[in-house]
Amino acid sequence: MKKSKLKTKLLASITCLSFGLTGLANAGAHSEDVYGPFPVTLKGYSGDCTNTVSYSGQIARHVQHDSLKHLSTKGDYSEMNSYYSGSDKNKQIWAPASKDGFPIKQTLLNDISSGKNLSGKTYKGTITSWPNNMTGPEVIDFWMSKAESNPKDVSVGLNYQQLLSKFIMGAVFYNQAVDNYLDEKMEADTKPNDKPYKDGACYTGKEHSWDEAFGYWGAAAHSLLLSAEQNYNVAKKKDLASADFNGDGVVDLKSEYVFAHAYYASSFDKGGKTTYLEDITRAFLDGRKLITSANGEKLSDMSRARLMAYVDDISSNWEKVIAESVFKYAGSTYKSLVALEDVSNADLAKEFDKYMKYWGELKGFSMALQVGKNNIGETGAKLNRMVGFGPMLLDETQIVGIDVNGNYVMDKVYSMNDAKLHMLKIQKLMIDQFGVEARGNDMLSDMADLASKIGTSESAEND
């Protein structure tokens, strides 16, 4: 008995030591590629603060989103809403939560930040991709109330968990970052670099605005030290060694976890065709270094121009990550539509469940794509018409509107064949308008592969 206890202790000590050494080695060797710490540059600051990086409010919102997503299948409106609109600091973190081999440091929202909510930061404009001219928070509230009675409503084909999650990522994280912190707050006279972000803060206006945008992006502070695969496995809670940068044996959600669009970027990048996660995270890091190098002075015109180049890089790549997601789930939805035509009755419910999930992801991401800084105009109109308000059901009906009582109006608009064609056209639209490159679930790749096998059609030869 004693022997086995001793053995356990020994093993635990070795494990802790190895994590500690790895952490130290990581921290020492590549600190220039880690987002923070950054020193105080604010002129006249006399407090104790030594590190000006702070984005715990954004991490709290990521956790609120993850927990809301987790709860959305349970059908409890007030519980869902407490993570969307509430600011109860003692709420439990439902996701990301610890699992065997992947212990997470925080268990309560208060362990991260208090007084934060998602509703206050949701895009307030009209959501044209959903009926009845609802604003962003109204759409989310509508879905949460619908999810209460039926989280997966087979009668209309909606999976509210996917709709809520994918749209919130766009309407809160993407919108706040690219349309607020990296937009208005990067203007020369807004949140200037020679003044504190707010009274008593140790960070300047520009430093903190930039950090807040980075927080919404969702990468770990040390993501640049990891491969796309490792970042992906951190988000999947499969790789403690990669996550635990400081080697304390637990994963600190504030800096060591990969959330939201950063996770999706890693999922595309691990295919080897793209480097979205690296490009965006690098631009954030280089931008932050540029702001810090101003040493608490107002940014010169030249520095601001360089900073705005980083902003362009971040915004355009972030938009592409969402467009890649639209592309991928249009492909999944297409596959499901094909499978539904042939599936036996015994497997119908299972296949339809997958179809609802994929369409929900497609719809959520396509809505997210329309709440960034750019008005995507005609592309948005095309996308909304082809995705629709609900997936086509097997009797070829689908949601065409919502009546005054909040009930869905169903009708037959086009055929199942048209629905499949729309998915292919959406993929083409994402290639033509956003230049997506990872192209997960590419339904037109067979033709592209054949064309490349045959060779170029360009020919100035007389046979």
Partner: protein, 339 residues
């Protein structure tokens, strides 16, 4: 700098890519076939054969040197314009979407066919459609004056070498690119729609099996001074090098003959077939008094452009302004020129 590197790479690619006509192996095999022809059919010695094949009077003639210049200049022009051209994948995608709208054509109708059958059928269809479209477009190049103005560049060659294949006006290159994109687009979209994801191409060294054999069996001799002839029965099916030499002849009886690229069946079906003759005393070119003056860059690039534009202008006036137009000098010249 990158641009120059691309030109260099594209140029090298013409000789190192088995999908290209002048791939070095195909050139080498053409020489072997030519040697065999000269030894066994023309009863020349090996030394005489080699001397005949590498005749400097052919390869350093005015005609041949202008072929080389056109080859390099066109590499640059095509590099500049190719990113803006319609591709086969654009056409294939548009057609694929169109098939969805036709309710009576069911997607994946033949998807359960055996894989070998699908691949064989696609490989063969691609070759046949591509070859037929070449025949049609080639015929147009001879029969439409505004296209003939461009195609004359190719026919102005008074000596044929494998590089004469590149003696093409850039505007004609645009027509050929469109043709190729259209032929590929139609075949790819139709097959993928009807046969699903199992469609593939049988290849050797990356080239379509049939294209590979066409090139291995001396496609480069079509433009050469080695007039290899096939058996008469075979010349109904495949165009022999000598048949193509007749196509370049200035003799009246050879006008409007042998448009085919690989297959002779199109010429046979549409009445333009001419069996081969001994080509030793054949005169090649346009048949004008000043054929040797047609090898300048001005004659190869500027004159055809202006002439073609004039014809297009005349069509426009005739069709849209309903004006009767008397035939001008160049049109009369066209009627008299070899086809």
């Amino acid at each position: 700098m990158e641009f120059f590197f691309d030109i260099f790479q594209n140029t090298i690619d013409q000789f190192t890519n088995p999908k290209k006509r002048v791939f070095i192996l195909y050139l080498f095999l053409s020489i072997l076939i030519a040697v065999a022809w000269l030894i066994f059919h023309k009863k020349k010695s090996l030394k005489e054969s080699i001397k005949f094949i590498f005749n400097p009077k052919v390869f350093f003639s005015k005609s041949a040197t202008s072929d080389y210049k056109v080859f390099f200049i066109n590499q640059i022009i095509m590099l500049l314009i190719s990113p803006h051209l319609l591709t086969q994948i654009t056409i294939a995608t548009a057609l694929y979407f169109f098939f969805f709208e036709i309710n009576f054509i069911e997607m994946g109708l033949f998807a359960s066919s055996p894989k070998y059958l699908i691949v064989s059928l696609f490989t063969l269809t691609h070759f046949i459609v591509d070859d037929f479209s070449k025949y049609i477009v080639h015929r147009w190049m001879h029969n439409w004056p505004f296209l003939w103005a461009l195609h004359k560049v190719h026919h102005s060659a008074t000596n044929l070498t494998p590089m004469t294949v590149f003696r093409t006006h850039p505007l004609e290159g645009l027509v050929f690119t469109l043709r190729s994109a259209f032929a590929q687009g139609v075949t790819i979209s139709t097959f993928v729609y009807l046969f699903g994801g199992g469609v593939d191409l049988y290849t050797i060294l990356g080239a379509n099996l049939f294209v590979f054999f066409f090139n291995v069996f001396g496609s480069n001799l079509r433009h050469s001074h080695i007039g290899i002839r096939y058996w008469k029965w075979l010349e109904y099916v495949l165009i022999s090098p000598a048949q193509h030499h007749l196509h370049h002849s200035i003799a009246k009886e050879h006008y409007n003959k042998n448009y085919g690229a690989a297959l002779a069946i199109w010429d046979w079906i549409f009445g333009s077939l001419h069996h081969s003759e001994d080509t030793d005393n054949l005169t090649l070119g346009l048949g004008t008094k000043d054929d040797q003056k047609k090898h300048t860059l001005k004659e190869l690039y500027q004159t055809p452009f202006i002439e073609s534009f004039k014809f297009l202008k005349r069509y426009f006036i005739k069709v849209f302004l309903f004006k009767k137009i008397n035939k001008n000098k160049s049109e009369i010249y066209y009627k008299k020129s070899p086809q």
